[in-house]
Symmetry: C2
Subunit: 428 residues, 2 copies
């Protein structure tokens, strides 16, 4: 870890900068595949599945038999763990339900706000060596609670044409409507336009590599909403001497193992503590199976010593971390005053992995400083808020004149007239 001792505020911007990647090269590829999928539907999907996943599928719809077989192959302990996580995620996201907000703003002017489910959602689950079944729980559970009618899950097939057993088990457990073996750009294009087998959806969720990220961005141009823009995963730990250096090191490493572009930052008020964490990191790193990857990320990581909690807070808010662990003698100070963070982990016994898997909070969170403006995925991500209003005769009589004046001042005569007509009838 690179150590920065009381860096001058003028250097913060550079110090906290995330690596930026140029995606312009990718954009042309994504554009081309989108056009082809729009034009040729499943034919194009098949072509790119052969090209990128190296497998020719007869059908890319996962059958009931496949799901049943997959479920049998997941071991019972893991099933119980998944069920426990699901139950916690359900409890936390169910609690996020809100009632209708009803206000009679003036006599006879009733206004209300209601949340209604997004009818069709597409969830993307990456493939690769490690099956990210935890993301299935994080996306399907709130989609179900929200009441989304069509929940389509796409995940790339492996060379044998299969999706990992754990993903199929979790998807089925949570009630996915349709599971489709399709990955990468072609999956996002399929969900955007719809094909013979892939339903067109209104919003696309889920993580992915930079191809998927650029494809999701392009999908928004075609009117499909996405959960949030994505970037490499991040963790910032704020800790002082009251924290446990070994725990902090283990948390930093758990972030670092996500990939060599992971962002890992320690902020502390104690130089000694920074040193202890640094040597703990070396010790633990040596025994990790993903050592090479984690080592690279740790090499890019930063240990920043600051003079006070106030300075630390300012720096953390300037960074806006995706994951923020706080283990200090004054956690309340940080919890109360943090403005920009995706999810906050408090105290010595709350590792980031708790939220990644099973505490109940969602692990789909804003990276890249997006926590300054974006929420992590939550129940509202699967709903939209709609407003309603109903004016009685009394209501329009109370409000009408103000509307007429404002419409006239904005030069919108027909807006005024819609009120005037009603008022003159009522005043007859």
């Amino acid at each position: 870890m690179k150590l920065y001792n009381n860096p001058d505020k003028s250097s913060w911007l550079e110090l906290l900068q995330r690596p930026t990647k140029s995606v312009e090269v990718i954009e042309a590829t994504v554009d081309e595949i989108f056009k082809e999928v729009k034009e040729d539907g499943d034919k194009a999907i098949k072509k790119y599945t052969i090209k990128f996943d190296g497998v020719a599928l007869e059908t890319n719809l996962v059958s009931k038999a496949e799901i049943e077989q997959a479920s049998k192959l997941v071991n019972e302990d893991l099933k119980e763990a998944i069920q426990l996580a699901k139950s916690n995620i359900e409890k936390f996201h169910s609690a996020q339900k809100t009632d209708k907000v009803f206000v009679e703003t003036m006599a006879g002017v009733e206004c209300w706000q209601e949340k209604r489910p997004i009818q069709k959602v597409g969830l993307y689950i990456p493939g690769g060596t490690a099956p990210l079944f935890s993301t299935v729980l994080m996306l399907v559970v709130p989609a179900q609670i929200a009441g989304c009618k069509e929940i389509v899950l796409c995940s790339p097939p492996n060379k044998e044409g299969k999706i990992a057993n754990e993903i199929l088990y979790a998807a089925n457990l949570c009630g996915v409507t349709k599971i489709i073996k399709v990955g990468g750009i072609q999956a996002i294009a399929g969900l955007t336009f719809g094909t013979e087998t892939i339903p067109q959806v209104y919003k696309i969720f889920g993580p992915g590599n930079q191809f998927v990220t650029v494809a999701k961005q392009l999908a928004t141009k075609y009117g499909v909403a996405i959960d949030m823009p994505a970037g490499p995963s991040e963790l910032l730990v704020m800790a002082d001497e009251s924290a446990n250096a070994a725990y902090v090191a283990s948390d930093l490493l758990s972030q670092a193992e996500h990939g060599s572009d992971s962002q890992v930052i320690l902020v502390t008020t104690s130089q000694d503590f920074a040193d202890s964490v640094s040597s703990e990191v070396k010790k633990q790193l040596a025994v990790l199976p993903r050592e090479a990857m984690a080592e690279k990320a740790i090499a890019n990581s930063k240990s920043i010593v600051v003079d006070s909690n106030a300075t630390a807070l300012e720096l953390i808010n300037a960074y806006g971390p995706e994951h923020f662990i706080v283990a200090t003698t004054d956690n309340d100070f940080f919890v109360d005053k943090i403005s920009n963070a995706g999810s906050v982990f408090i105290g010595n016994y709350t590792p980031e992995s708790a939220g990644d898997y099973a505490s109940g909070t969602n692990h789909t969170l804003p990276t890249n400083g997006f926590s300054k403006a974006y929420s992590g995925v939550n129940l509202d991500s699967f709903q939209k808020s709609m407003t309603f209003q109903k004016l009685s005769k009394e209501g329009i009589l109370n409000l009408g004149n103000a509307i007429e004046l404002m419409a006239e001042a904005e030069g919108l005569q027909a807006h005024k007239n819609a009120v005037t007509l009603r008022l003159s009838d009522l005043k007859k």
Copy 2:
């Protein structure tokens, strides 16, 4: 209005299609101005203000003296109307505040969700002949209630270097932090990168022409959030013979006067009613000052006769109108079952203009079918939801094993290790 009598379902997609505009030509211009503003700051802003607004400003910051003078020039009746609208908007958006959502998902595992304000927001108010001060209310009021710290309003100067009195009055009344005379692409670029006088913000709100729309889209590429993608304004009225044809015509016309690309649709179960509305439209159109514009929009508008309320509902949900007026004998049916609409206006005495100005609901709403996935602007638009979790020793003991199993199955050994370390200490 073009009449469609019981159109076959297979024709709906075409029938309900919005006109699509190619923005590719604009994109290059927007790109160029963004690059220049990023590079040259205020110098570039000044250059483009001269070019597009035809005025060279000494400073583009609106002074206190200017605000005071402008306020004196707004007439008292209009001020009262604006204050009434503000009060209703405040009541409705204040009621949208939510409490912390707290759940102990398992013994010792505390999770909660809180909403915190987006610290810096930029609001764009178009210039032009009609000063859209109502949009000032719709954006500043919820920003204030949310607790946004910096509320920057940008609006283009006229040839005399001024912003409309009503806009300055409303902005000051609602507590805008900073008002800047800058419009179009250069305003959005300034808010995206920050300049010597324009603060960089985290989220940009507000309507605008196609240049502003494309600029907002580009801003998202630089990590700035936006309220929603934009398109021409729309109204769909569902009415039967219980409705008042003159009122319905006045509502359709109030939408049509927004511009020749406005979308105006009547759905009805009665051919006779469709005919009455059509002749009422002709009658009212003749006396409108914006007749030419409204006439064009009305020429593109559609009157669709369907066989039942059920068919009507299906068609309306397929369209997903921005504004949806329902005036039938069974309004509850539509209110209960509408899935996709921005804002709903119920009954004979609730013209769209009520919500446009003063009922209390927000008038910044999803167009172009985006109501299928997007909310209109509401209090949440100015906040982000953050999650928190705190595990006690008991908590990690209860949850730890499930996390270990799941992390291991996902091949994330360091995630597991962060738990194992803590568990072994506790089990010592």
